[in-house]
Structures are given as C-alpha cells and as structure tokens.
C-alpha cells in the first residue's frame, strides 16, 4: 500500500447511502461520458474505535449458525469492515463501476479471538488492479487492529471483477486453462436457502446490494433472480467447520457459479487432523445438487 496517511472517517459510512451514491455515479458517468480514472486511488480510509453492536452480533450468529459466543466470527469482522472498503470503492477517483462488481475470492487471516467489546481500528484500501480475461480485477484489503494496542487482529483481501471493463494499460489476462471438470463428492450437508436469504443477511451485515434483495431489484441489475451473498455462503461454511478451529486461522473461499435464490446447496466438508489428533485444516466445497455446478470452495487452516 502507499505510504500516504489514511483518510480518517469519523464514523462507519452508511452502506445504503454508498449504494445510492454508486448508482448516481454510474448514471452520471454514463450520461456525461466522464472519463473514469485509470489508476487506483492512493491511500486508505480508516475508521477508529469501531465497536460491534452486541444485539447485531447475536442476530448474525443465529443466522449463520455460529455459536453465540462473545468472540466475533471472522465473517462478522468482514461485515464490520465492509463499509470502510465500500467507501474506498465509492470515491470519485475510483476507476471501476462499483455496482455489478463480482466477488471472485476472499482470503482472511484471523490472528486471535476478538471480544465484542474491544474497540477496533478498521483500515481499507484498494490494490493490485490487473487484467482478467473478462474485465478488470482488483484486491480490496482491510485490516482490523485493536484500538487499545494497535495489534493486527484480522486481515482480509477481497478480489473483485469489474466484468467487461477494460482499462488502457492493463492487458487482458490470458484465457485460463479450462478448469478440471467438477465431480460432486458425497455431500456431508445440504442447505435449504429460502428466497429471503439475501434479505436476512442484508439485515445483519448491512450489505443491501440490490442484487441480493429481491427478484425485481436483481432484474434491474441484469440478473434473472436474486443471488445469495458470497460472504453469507462462506461464513456459513466457516460456521459449519465448527469451533474445532484454532484461535488463529486462515479462511479462504473461491466463488464460482452464483447461488440463485431459493436454492438447495450441497456441501462437503473434509477435515485433516495432525498425527497428535488436533485439528489442522478443513476443506469445503459447495455445489448445486440439481445442476452439479460448483458454487464455491475453500479452506480453513490453523495458523
């Protein structure tokens, strides 16, 4: 990241306002033909002294299937940091259209358990813009530190794709080799996701992206139906891995076919134990039992 001082925001930005603003920016750019910038904005945004709302935490834990403990689930911290990341993507000098960006993958390192009462400093910036065979991709990095001692507690890298956007100076990445054909294993679980799955997760995460909310709002953005939030799916998989995981762990997910709601999602979780019997890692993969297409896969690994 750049060495510039972060832009300190007074409070967590409102995600709904950011989405409205993103829509307005998109319309302005389309109407007036504003040339978008061609480089990522330098510098980061930061909000200090962020505290989790305990009622919101409980609702999140119940929805995701996490144990309602006093520790913040790694996916909850992602949701806590998300408005700061969104404010970076919402800057006037941000070169890619925010609405319609596709979440390709997400990597999180949780370095220790975080108690809900702990004040947190959340910083985020955009990085590593590069070509993709279908457009332009970039990483949005978020770091969460303890406001008390500055210790790094959690780090997330979300990779997004702006589909169909090709910026000058960024080469189209070569066509990836055709992925090996996915053959669904025997499922260890099946999720029944109702049509309200997106609305329920929006209510606990604050991510009211219209593509997740309803048939009509998703259609307005060019999708046939609403889709589940990627981080909802990944967070449920993390919860399903369970509390065997160490206090410090790495949690990765690669998103493939979106989950159109309502849906049944089949899941396989495989766990690897060390020779002494302690948990080392769990790998998960999820697919549609109807079409056999893979929705996402990932792993949780002890650090």
């Amino acid at each position: 990241m750049s060495t510039e001082q972060p832009l300190i925001l007074g409070d967590l930005p409102s995600l709904s306002k950011l989405y409205v603003n993103a829509a307005a920016t998109a319309a302005r750019r389309r109407l007036l033909g504003f040339p978008a910038a061609t480089a990522l904005p330098q510098g980061s945004h930061e909000v200090r002294g962020v505290r989790a709302d305990v009622a919101n935490l409980t609702e999140y834990q119940h929805l995701i299937g996490e144990t309602a403990s006093d520790a913040l689930p790694a996916g909850f911290i992602h949701a806590l940091a998300f408005p700061v990341s969104m404010s970076v993507l919402n800057r006037d000098d941000f070169p890619l259209p925010l609405l319609g960006m596709i979440h390709l993958k997400n990597q999180v390192e949780q370095l220790r358990a975080v108690h809900f009462s702990e004040p947190l400093d959340v910083r985020s910036w955009a990085d590593n813009m590069r070509g993709h065979r279908a457009g332009t991709q970039l990483d949005v990095v978020a770091e969460v530190r303890s406001s008390n001692d500055g210790a790094l507690l959690w780090r997330g890298i979300s990779t997004y794709l702006a589909k169909g956007v090709f910026l000058p100076g960024f080469d189209k990445a070569p066509e990836a080799a055709a992925p090996a054909e996915f053959r669904a294993p025997a499922p260890t679980a099946v999720w029944q996701l109702g049509v309200d799955t997106g609305r329920l997760y929006a209510a606990v995460s604050g991510d009211f992206n219209p593509i997740h909310l309803s048939l009509l709002s998703a259609k307005a953005l060019g999708l046939p139906r609403s889709i589940a939030h990627g981080m909802y799916l990944a967070s449920r998989a993390l919860a399903d891995v369970g509390s065997v995981k160490a206090e410090a762990f790495r949690w990765d997910v690669n998103f493939e076919a979106p989950v159109y709601l309502p849906a049944r999602v089949a899941l396989e979780i495989g766990t690897v134990h060390s020779s002494s019997g302690s948990w080392e890692r769990s790998d998960y993969v999820a697919w549609s039992p109807r079409s056999g297409r893979r929705h996402f896969s990932g792993s949780v690994t002890a650090l």
Binding site: A55, T58, A68, S243, V244
Partner: protein
C-alpha cells in the same frame, strides 16, 4: 490402555461388575452470570447460554477436543426444536464431537439431578468423566400455537382431498389464533408457584420480617463473595455481564420492608411475600465438571469435593396434604438417615431460595416436634440448623434462579467452599444441598470435601 482392552483382559477388575464403587469427584464448575429476564441475555437462546457456560468450563480446565464420558443438562422452559439441546451445545463447543450427551428435565431440580446421575455412572465405572449442567431462559421462552390451531394443522396435514381440507379449516375460530405462552401455574391446581408457597408460608406462620432477613442475607453474602473473588474461577463473563444482574449489594431491611406483597393477597392471613423475598425470573446457565479420581489425577486437575449421595422425594400437594415446595423436608431426613448423619455433621447448608418462605417453612418443619413424629416417623423434631451455616455465599434470591441452572451453581460453589474450608474435627467438611421443584418434588444431596483415601 484403552478401557475395552482393559476389561477384556481382566474382566473381574471392572468396578461396574465387581460391586466396589469408585468415588466421583467435583473438579470444578463454570457458569455465566445470571441475568434478570429482559436484560443482557434477552436475545440469547438456551443453546447459546449452555454453550457459553460449557466453553468457559472447557477453557478453564483445558478440555479442548477432549472426549468427555457424557454430558447431561437440561432446561425447564424448552422449545420443541431444542429436543437435543445438550448434544447440540456439545457440538457447538470446543469438546470433541465424539462426546455423547443427553437432556434431562426435573423442573428446578434438573441441574442437581444431572450431577447425581452422572456421578453415579462415574462411581459405577461406566464413565470416567462427565459434565453436568442446566440452562434456562425466561426471556427467550417458547410460545406455542393454541391447541385449537395445532389440532387443525395436524388434521389438515392428514386430510386427503380439497373438500376434506376445507372442512378441517372451517373448524378454525379466531380465538385459535392466539398463541399459548408458558406460565408458572401448576397444571393440576391452576395456582402459580408463588400462590402455592403463600399457602405454605401462612401455614407455617412465617413472618414477613423473617423472610426479608433471608433475602437481605442472600444479597449481602453474595456481594461479599464477589468482593473477595470467590467467583473468579466459577463464573465467566457473557454478553457484557460479569456479575449476576439481580444482585443488590446495597439492599437493606428498610428497603425490603417497603415492597408490597405480590403473593397470598387473597388469603385470610396477612400477605408477606414480596418481589424482594421471592426469586425473579432469570436467564443463565451453569456447568459442573465431574470425574473419577484417576481421571482428574491423570490431567493434573483439582479434586474439590466428593459427591456422596443424593435423594429425591415428592409430596401430595394437589389436595393440600403438603405444600408444593415441601418435598425436601422429607428427602433430607431420609438422606441423612441412610448416611448415618445428623445436622451436627453438616458444615454448610445450601437450601435453594425459591422463595424466602420456602427456606423458612422447610426449617420450621424440621424444627417441629409434631411434624417430626407424625410425618417423618422420628421420636421428635429432626432438628435445628445453625443459621450461620446457611447459604453463606448467597443463594437464589440474590443470584437469581434460571430454573435448571441453579443446581450447577450450587454444586460448584459448595464444592469450592468445602475444599477451602479444610477438615472439621479431623473429618472432611460436609455440605447438604436441598432443591425444591415444581410438581411437588425435591432433590437433595450430600457433598464432602475431597480427601485422599487411606494409604494413598
């Protein structure tokens, strides 16, 4: 050596078949602070709270990924979806997922009964370790559909044709749409527990002042115990609470005297039971770690106390022969007799304060000559207990009473008291637990400070 291999090679050494009993020790306990209903745990489910108490216990004694012999717990107010509450809590905890668990329900005696049942399994050699517990939420209480709606829904499911379904639906009346909330009324009498106790309190002529004094002592004893750090290794904070939220360290006899009676107002006698000398509805969970001596030793864990014996009793309260909460008055003398003990041999009395009137009515019955002769079959009264030994670190009036969680709270606290006390007249310190329960039941138990057996 694995247990299976052990019993295969030397079947006669298995304690379960040989007739010798092992000792079941209390290693320690953990609970979350108890919260008044509608407080810090309003949104927490029974499973949330039981898991929180369990995870605190696991962290305290290093039981991560450990396979425990068996976990038993329960809740009194239970959602139908919580049919496997304890097993689900185990699966959500850091224990090995290969730990079996079962639910138990004996109203307010649930927690103590899980301790006794699991201790017996340890004594028999069936298991080496166990976690007993209980949880209750009055905030997140189940609400059911009315009986009318329930019957219609079930019949609708069975109806085969559209006309049949319409016929079933036509039975639905507006009143059927009103939900059923749980209440504390006894099914056979329609009286609430408080109204039942008010009858007993009046029968034993317990004064308002005596009840307020029990409440006053409970708050001051519990506050003092928190102040000196007694609960530091018995309680894990949860949802921002680090002490029981019902605790009023500054309460006084004057303040208690200002409260208006809430139960027994329709009786001829003066109403004496107030919100101050009755326990409030509370949310919370507790756990107790039990083990054989060998199991505790192998892990370097403490052995605070031994679960000596327990006894359950029930009374015929429906037609008023005895008060609803008077069963311990019968269980205790039977338990003492079986163990050849009298009140003089007990150093700590833990009598659950459902209501101050319950404690005082029970003590009055034990002190009563006629009750001793006619009801207990003794020569005279059972005896009088030294009040200085009663609920010395506070009880339910101050801590609150999340029904099934009370037994675990008392067992863990008493085990620690016995351990800290040291021997009495050359014998291990001894404690008596008495818990009354709905349905006219009561469960009581004796714990003894752990002392190494002769020759060890």
């Amino acid at each position: 050596m694995p247990a299976a291999a052990h019993s295969a090679s030397a079947p006669h050494e298995s304690p379960a078949t040989q007739g010798t009993l092992r000792r079941a020790v209390v290693v320690g306990g953990n609970r979350i602070p108890f919260a008044r209903t509608g407080g810090a745990y309003t949104k927490s489910s029974n499973q949330d709270m039981l898991t929180a108490a369990l995870d605190g216990l696991i962290a305290r004694f290093g039981l991560q990924e450990e396979r425990i012999g068996e976990v038993a717990a329960g809740a009194v107010l239970k959602h139908s979806r919580d049919f496997n509450l304890t097993r689900e809590a185990v699966l959500g905890s850091a224990l090995s997922p290969e730990t079996p668990a079962y639910d138990l329900q004996q109203a307010c005696a649930t927690g103590l009964e899980t301790v006794l049942g699991l201790a017996n399994k340890i004594k028999l050699g069936q298991i080496d370790s166990a976690i007993a517990g209980g949880v209750d939420s009055a905030s997140d209480a189940p609400i059911a559909v009315s009986e009318g709606l329930r019957e219609v829904l079930l019949d609708l499911h069975r109806a085969k044709s559209l006309p049949d379904r319409l016929k079933v639906l036509s039975r639905l009346r507006p009143k059927d749409l009103a939900p059923d909330a749980p209440n504390t009324g006894e099914p056979r009498t329609g009286l609430s527990m408080g109204e039942h106790q008010a009858l007993t309190t009046a029968q034993w002529k317990i004064s308002r002042e005596a009840q307020d004094e029990i409440a006053f002592n409970s708050h001051h004893n519990l506050a003092a115990a928190y102040e000196r750090g007694f609960f530091d290794d018995l309680v894990t904070p949860y949802r921002g609470l680090s002490r029981d939220s019902n605790l009023r360290p500054d309460t006084s006899m004057e303040k208690l005297a200002t409260l208006k009676p809430v139960f027994g107002k329709g009786l001829g006698a003066e109403a004496t039971m107030t919100a101050g000398n009755s326990t409030p509805l509370t949310d919370g969970a507790s756990t107790v770690l039990l083990g054989s001596e060998e199991w505790a030793d192998a892990r370097g864990l403490p052995k605070l106390a031994v679960v000596v014996d327990g006894e359950a009793a029930a009374v015929d309260f429906v037609h008023g022969k005895d008060g609803l909460l008077m069963a311990p008055a019968f269980a205790v003398p039977r338990l003492l007799a079986r163990n050849g003990l009298s009140f003089e041999d007990i150093d700590f009395f833990e009598i659950h304060e459902a209501f101050a009137g319950t404690v005082l009515s029970t003590l009055a019955a034990w002190e009563d000559e006629e009750f001793g002769r006619t009801r207990l079959g003794l020569d005279g009264s059972l005896g009088k207990i030294d009040r200085a030994k009663l609920n010395v670190n506070g009880s339910s009036l101050a801590a609150g009473h999340p029904f099934a969680a009370t037994g675990g709270r008392i067992v863990a606290s008493l085990a620690k008291m016995l351990h800290e006390n040291g021997p009495v007249n050359g014998r291990p310190a001894r404690g008596l637990i008495s818990i009354c329960a709905a349905g006219g039941q009561g469960v009581v138990a004796i714990l003894e400070a752990y002392s190494a057996p002769e020759g060890r």
